[in-house]
Symmetry: C2
Subunit: 781 residues, 2 copies
Amino acid sequence: MMNYSLGKGEHQNWVVSDVNFSEDSLGKSEAIMYLGNGYMGLRSTTEEPYLNEVRNCFVAGTFNKFDANEVTELPNIADVTRVDIRIDGKRFSLEFGETKEYVKQLNLKTAELIRTFDWVSPQGKELRFHFRRFVSLENLHVIGMKMEVEALTHPVVISFDSGINSQMTNSGAQHFHEGERRIFDKRFVQLIQTTTESKIDVVVNTVHKVMVNGKELEKEPIMEMDRRKVWLHFETELQQNDTLTVEKLTTVHTSRDKEAGHEPYDLDRLREISLTNLRQAFAKGYETLFTESTAAWQTKVWDRNNFHIESEDSYDLLALRFALYHLTIMTPAHDERMGIGAKAFSGEGYKGHSFWDTEIFILPFFTYSNPEIAKSLLKYRYHGLAGARKKAKENGFDGAMYPWEAAWPTDGEVTPVWGAVDIVTGEQTKIWSGFIEQHITSDITFAVWQYYQITNDQEFMDKYGYEMIFDTARFWASRLEWNEAKQEYHINCVVGPDEYKEHVDNNAFTNHMAHFNIKLAMEYYRELKTDRPELFASLEATLELEKAYTLWTEKIDNIYLPQPRHEDLVIPQDDTYLSKKIIDLEKYKNQAKVGSLFREYNLAQVNEMQVTKQADIMILFLLLENKFGPEVKQANFDYYEPKTLHDSSLSLSTHSILANDLGHEEMAYSLFKRATEIDLGPAMHTSDHGVHAASIGGIWQSVVLGFGGVRMLDGKLRMNPRLPKHWRELRFSINWHGSPLHVEITSDTLTIKSETKDYVVVEVFGQSYQFVEEVIININK
Amino acid sequence: MMNYSLGKGEHQNWVVSDVNFSEDSLGKSEAIMYLGNGYMGLRSTTEEPYLNEVRNCFVAGTFNKFDANEVTELPNIADVTRVDIRIDGKRFSLEFGETKEYVKQLNLKTAELIRTFDWVSPQGKELRFHFRRFVSLENLHVIGMKMEVEALTHPVVISFDSGINSQMTNSGAQHFHEGERRIFDKRFVQLIQTTTESKIDVVVNTVHKVMVNGKELEKEPIMEMDRRKVWLHFETELQQNDTLTVEKLTTVHTSRDKEAGHEPYDLDRLREISLTNLRQAFAKGYETLFTESTAAWQTKVWDRNNFHIESEDSYDLLALRFALYHLTIMTPAHDERMGIGAKAFSGEGYKGHSFWDTEIFILPFFTYSNPEIAKSLLKYRYHGLAGARKKAKENGFDGAMYPWEAAWPTDGEVTPVWGAVDIVTGEQTKIWSGFIEQHITSDITFAVWQYYQITNDQEFMDKYGYEMIFDTARFWASRLEWNEAKQEYHINCVVGPDEYKEHVDNNAFTNHMAHFNIKLAMEYYRELKTDRPELFASLEATLELEKAYTLWTEKIDNIYLPQPRHEDLVIPQDDTYLSKKIIDLEKYKNQAKVGSLFREYNLAQVNEMQVTKQADIMILFLLLENKFGPEVKQANFDYYEPKTLHDSSLSLSTHSILANDLGHEEMAYSLFKRATEIDLGPAMHTSDHGVHAASIGGIWQSVVLGFGGVRMLDGKLRMNPRLPKHWRELRFSINWHGSPLHVEITSDTLTIKSETKDYVVVEVFGQSYQFVEEVIININK
């Protein structure tokens, strides 16, 4: 059972707690409390093992393909977290004996996982356990663990097995060759593994310091090796009130690390680097390493974002901090060749692949708050042009057709082809997204444009951005299909954001965004040709822009863009949606049972109903805000929301922002709350397969873009804040054209402070303000 | 805790029982109660899962290599035994609540696994569970499972997940591509898997029949698929005294099956065959299928062997039945391309590989009792000539050098190179057996000769046997090394049966057996050349016998054969053994802690001590009995036994037979008892990695060759029975020259009945008897 109010004093609203142990719902805290630093992610499985646990550790960018029939995925590397503890020779487990005052906590501020409880063994001996763990934000390769066990009532013999275990798989798929195992100085344990197809070496080292009452154990551990495993067996006796303290420090390095990337790469050197790193960490010890990591969190995350919510419900602030914590650890900011996985590093779900989730739901946070990281994520997509061009070519199109799912940038499309069971045929359902969910290409273009407008990063555009925009526009121009009867360009046979509709024609979101993409390319074409002849020439050389522009000009005005119906202002989601049958969805609209519709219907049947998985038209309203008026938005909200199951975690936050835009603050707040509850809610199984990265980005979006009303519109900054009634104040910082702006919003006033002496222009509720240093605006209507 | 006296009435001394559930010692009953039929083996893991379980199912001959650095092994195929049961939504597990009258039993006679207990849930609801399972000896592809659950005290909601799970690995090594999963008719569940390197298809089908009080459930199960998994979720309510009955029937087929082996092989056809087999099984139901299997056990095993022991300790009879049970299920009698694994099918240990264990410890049972199967096993070695010739060539030798470990016959050497941790260096210890443990080659020759002498199977010799004997002799002739100083042929740098001595020169067993091998070839050379010119010519054509014979003649008399020392009659185990230091082994001589010496010394250090792993000189005495007199045997027994840790399961039974030969019946009995306890003893962890196939063969050998005194000596049958004092009678049947002989031994008399009208000649305590139909011999000394 989750509790968010246990943080006291300076840790108030910083602590996520699970206050009782239940073997039935391990996944929840494993996932939402997972630790990481963008380099790696470590699911927060308990030290002692349980049947239903999912023990995972992933390192960004180490993609591997099990075989030719499977798609590449982030492999589950060797585990160091499991510790098999025995008390008087009997396995320690919270499933036996009596557990008192159990609490498992993630402190978001320090990024430390803590677990404490008293445990009475079945033999009646009481012990106090205290576990701590962190993944360093300062030294990205370091995992720290600490365990304290005090014998409260009786002497006990305590023993434990701890080491490195590379028997781990991804649900049975083994991605690694068995590598060398070695124990140095009877203390430093090393295990090497190499991915089977991508041939990435992973070096894991671990070391223990075992103390009783602060004095290091004299008895040497027994060294053990088994297949894919190496570990030490420690055993000692504790008298009453004795405390056993174990520090276990680990380093993880791979041949994808930049420092290992220089030619000629040499495994022996990597082993040496990693072992040296561990020896140095060992010399510092848990507490020093942890203090260093905490300091990094303070400066890199908390100070920079400067967030605050004064709310009657302090959970709101915690939820926002939760989002920032996860946005930080999910992002491989250290390496522009790596993207963000849809489940971050918190589970095997979606295989570490990047979707439009990044550009549309997560990237805005970085673009506004940490443009350097946003740039790195966009450069990942720039490197992905190789894969996108490959995909376009394979599909008979020009330019860059981004893969629906992306892994290593040059891989191209990596969406798996087969999914869950079809309840009608008994076969696996085919997943069409990799073939025909094509809006990802314009989503990326949109994100590039958004980044450029918000940051003014001209260098990025020159080096990467224009090329991406032009080449995606080339794709769309080749993708359009001429409809002779209607004398229009159509985009047929696609999947839109609503994935419950496959093989539809003219999905509104897809068509409007393709149009946006080509139009943007045309603008930049004209601009560069006039103002930047050298850059233009170099782009022309690779992209044949003149030819492309001719095509764009020919087609742009004839692209069919679905419009509101005359009678009710409803925009048809696609050509056939509105003619399909309407069913009562009440019993399926239960967040804890996403996908329950598919217990009764197969996808072919759902395809024939007016049932929407997630925001589709709504996301169009959010991105191209100025294209549609409030009446149209309201009409479509009213029409589509009741037909939307929110079976995707991308849906609720979008609806929350839209509701706020339409002036329904309380509905917006209620949708925001539901959005936070996708991972933080009381339903204990929603995060079993991992956290919902896009939804977490959505929490930030709901607050800053929604309640804060921040938007970049046509290159200008707008801020229409509308706080929920019980929020007294909202503070945050964003960057605009390179200047940090500190924003304070109350029910009455909007205060914006700029750190620079430049003019800032902001539009607030239709009025334009230009200021230096600070502006205070009365927003009381 | 094991109990062997729970079988009552007709099942007396047939039932192996584990009478309490302990999660700490699951491995024992999983392994020693494993089910099988030579086609496949199914470790007897419980239906509900536990952390320490090892869930295994292996199909003979489906070898696969994970990658180029690993050796081929039997892969763990998809599991059907796991059933996840929930009572009122809570996981059922014997680790919670209260368990009453628990018993898990293997009925050796019917080969059925049974588990019964009453369980009181933590909520105080009492249920009665009754599980049954068998692997059919009649239809080799069928696994039957049955589960009954009765609600004794309260109504309960019971649900369970059951299907096919191919997330299984061999300690993390995944041998299969993920294949298609499919549910036919919402009932017949099918999963295909294909090995990654050897490309063997495995088709597993399963079907459930779920009844409450005998009436099939109306509610349809929920169909589920996940990665490498497909299963059904059933749920129903039980009123007090209602009984849920689940029959789960499974078929397993592979592309290595002979019926699938005809070209062109077609997976679709195999799928159809397997599904049809399941549909037919489903029509019969558990009880009929089980009755058919029981009948096969009666005729093929129990009636044929006709075993009986009248002993004060009826455990002795049970142990012998246990041996026969396992000898039956470990042996792929259906396919001559397959051998016996050192751990049978009961665990991953030794990877399903065949060692000399088969020829020296297991084959004699089949040669005497079921020559057809012995022939199949020897033909496996005949097919293995391909691999043996490859190995000889790679090592620069002539002829056939058999691999120390063998898998698929053409694979050649498959011994892994790296083993357990070296406690001194912290690195893995190198395993030298695959390179230099060479006696396997003459062991196989010995077995061929033994088979021929006992069965008179001339056809086998003509087709296979001579070729094997000649080509192994060619190997040895090329292997011998001339020692100029001693003017002798030596065999240097080997590992003998005692694997604690590596890189030794002139291991006595190796040298004597090599000599035997060449000598035998020379005899047959002369015989065939004279009497069978056509056969000789054809063998000469492929083996260059003339040239080989010249070499044999040159070398045979100059092979150094270690002899008893003048002073104490001790035969040096090798050139340096007797000069090494002697240490006190008392604390390491503990059967429950095999290998404990290596907690204190590494192999390099043990190499320098007079410590022997297992029978070495002793096994020489057993095989070449007439070469040494009783004084020499006694002297060596007295010298070596105290230095022998019996750290190999091949050791105790050999010592038991030798002790009996030397007239120490009670010592022989005590060693026999210890030999049976390798798997059946009270130590609960000795069989964790699997049963000890050779030791099980040794149980039969101790009884028939030891107490029964049966031996083939120089082609003649000898029978010197010496029963332990408290055995009143021993009965068994063997075959001699194709005739079944029924033997009854009491303390006074030896009665032999022959089924044929042929003369039988037998030597008993130095006197020769010739009889037809029956002879009764007074053996009271």
